[in-house]
Structure formats: structure tokens, C-alpha cells
Symmetry: C2
């Protein structure tokens, strides 16, 4: 189904026209490389071990990225809200199996693309390619920062950083998944919250 | 001081001529953008909080990247050996203070570059720019993998991965720094090694 402007959120149009600087009349070309998909809560966008050249811009809803350890324990590494992009870098660019799962936590509306559509858009719009390189660099830096935090900060410090960045996260994400993100058990997270917010 | 081919290791020449595909006669142009620097063991290439637009290819020696937590504890995140590149992405590209320290663990011989030299080489050699983008993507993916490992694998599993990747690491890096990389105390690492290697 061919997408119209009215099918996508204004933030998505602004991203291409205002942020990246593609001419407004060229936005239809961008749109023709995307398709809309609904992913109900709890469904998977990608499973660990799968090879997929697909990614998606989250236009509604949220998702998490997680892995399962050798004892069957789940580890949530990342939450994606509106405006974020879902996908496995290694799978899209190198064709290797994804090292993690991506699961919808709410009913999601996604704008999907493929490696081929990125390549075509990059070939057509130089600005898009430059923006992509810059975005990649920032995302890389963000993962480095996260790694340093996971290794260096206490659970309390990481909790405070999380709610500073996403003040309303407890309204959208379950305690269980936030606890997994912070590497603690849900009852410990409840105690931590009670202690911090009763100060 | 102008660098000659004899001042750099053959691997550095191969990187540009064989891997990246820059013509052999153009290698002198590449060389003119690098300078040689000696960094004695224990000296810092970069300190947390510093802004620096410099990076360096390690032609001899090794270094570590570490941070200090609010209790004064050191956390080693990464070791760089010959052929690796030192530097802070955020500092080189965004001019923001580095979030970590880089310290030589052996006497190092470095081939240093600046943001300006990368920009000039990228503008002159398209292949170099393309390689750089690809390299960035791989480095990004490597940090994601490391983050998943830190969060998901046991210390024993991470130890085994480390010695699989760097079988001779104990001959070059002190037990203390390897323990810090694995987030355990040095005596625990000694016990772990004894237990695993007596099997």
C-alpha cells in the first residue's frame, strides 16, 4: 500500500524535511521507501539468531531489546519509544544473525524500511547519507556511554539517570522490564523506589 | 618531523594500500597527515573530561581505556594493542569532554592524527571515507556485543571469551587490570584461573 503524508506522524516528516534537509517536494520519494506495519504488544519484530535486513521507525508504541542467558534469564538492554529506530545493525548491514530480540511492549505502529531502501535513499540524497553517518556516530557514542554506566554506576545512580531521561517511564513500561534493564530483581526495584521517593 | 615509510610498521602501510585500496604512490600523502609520538608506560594519552581532537594508531605497545567511579574505584573497559586506534569519538567528532581515560600500559609508539587530518584524507580519498564509515559501523556493533556480554554472561564466560580472543593477554597485561576488565577482584581472578586450568 502506497503511503500518504497523512499516514505518518508530523515528526517523521520533520525529520526528513527539517532535520535532514530534504526538499519538501522530495518527501514523497522518501515515503515510497517505507511501509506501515502494526505490531501488537508482546509480538516480536526480530528474534535472536534471525537474519533480517529490515528496520523500523517507531511512529507509535514502544518496544524493548533483550537477550536470554544460558540459564534462561532475560536481560533487557534498551527501550525504544516514538521516534526511535528498531533493527539489528549487524543483521541489516552484515547479514549476520541478530544477537538480540526486539519485542513490542505496547501495540506499535511502525514505518518499515529495508537495507535496499536505505541504499537507494542514500544514493539519491547526499544529505540523508551524511545525516546517517552522523546518526551512526552518535548511536555508537551512546552505546559506549551506556557500557561505561553499566560497569561503573551503582543501581541507584543508573535508576536516577533513567528517570531523568524518561520521567514517565513507569507509566509505560512494567516494573519487571525496568528491573531487568537495571539488572536487579523487581522487589529490589520497588524498595529502591520507595526509599528514594520517601526522602 | 616528516614521516618516511621506514618510520611506520608494514601493517600500517598494508591497511591503507591493501585493505582500503589507496594507490601505493598516494601513501606519502596519507603519511603526511600523521605524526609519530612515544608514550611511556603509565602515561596518559587522554584524561576523562579533556577535549581533544586527536586520535592515534598504536604501532607498538598497548593501552587501556578506563573510568573512575564515585568511590574512587577504577573500571577498565577496553585494551588496545598494535593496530588499534586510540581516541575519544565524542571528543574528536563533537568536541565534548572525553568520558574516559586512555593510559599506556607498555611503552607505546603511536601514529597520531587529528580531526582535521581525517577530514582532509576523507575529502581526498573516497575509499578512505567509505572504509571509515564501515569501520565505524563495525566498532559500533562491537560495543553493542560487549554491552550484551557484560550484562548477560557470567564472569567465567567472559574470562573464556577474553582468552579466546587474546590468548597471550596475561603475558602483557597485569592481573589487576584484567580483573578490573572482568569486574572482579584480583584474588577472585587468580582462583578462577586456577580452577579452570586445573580441569
Amino acid at each position: 500500500m502506497k503511503l500518504e503524508r497523512s499516514d505518518v506522524p508530523p515528526e517523521f516528516i520533520d525529520l526528513f524535511v527539517k532535520t535532514i534537509g530534504i526538499r519538501d517536494e522530495d518527501f514523497e520519494i522518501v515515503l515510497s521507501h517505507y511501509s506501515k506495519q502494526y505490531l501488537p504488544a508482546k509480538y516480536f519484530f526480530l528474534r535472536e539468531g534471525e537474519v533480517s535486513d529490515r528496520g523500523a521507525y517507531v511512529s507509535k508504541g514502544c518496544a524493548r531489546n533483550f537477550t536470554i542467558d544460558s540459564n534462561g534469564g532475560e536481560h533487557t538492554h534498551h527501550f525504544a519509544f516514538e521516534g526511535w529506530v528498531l533493527g539489528s545493525l549487524e543483521s541489516v548491514y552484515c547479514g549476520t544473525p541478530s544477537s538480540f530480540n526486539i519485542q513490542a511492549l505496547e501495540n506499535c505502529e511502525l514505518l518499515c524500511f529495508t537495507k535496499k531502501s536505505i541504499d537507494e535513499l542514500e544514493a539519491r540524497f547526499r544529505k540523508y547519507k551524511e545525516w546517517h553517518i552522523e546518526k551512526q556516530r552518535k548511536a555508537h557514542h551512546a552505546v559506549i556511554t551506556r557500557l561505561l554506566e553499566v560497569k561503573t554506576l551503582s543501581v541507584e545512580e543508573r535508576y536516577l539517570k533513567l528517570i531523568e531521561k524518561h520521567p514517565h517511564i513507569f507509566q509505560r513500561i512494567s516494573l519487571q522490564h525496568i528491573a531487568s534493564f537495571l539488572d536487579i530483581e523487581p522487589p529490589s526495584l520497588s524498595r529502591l523506589r520507595k526509599r528514594l521517593h520517601s526522602r
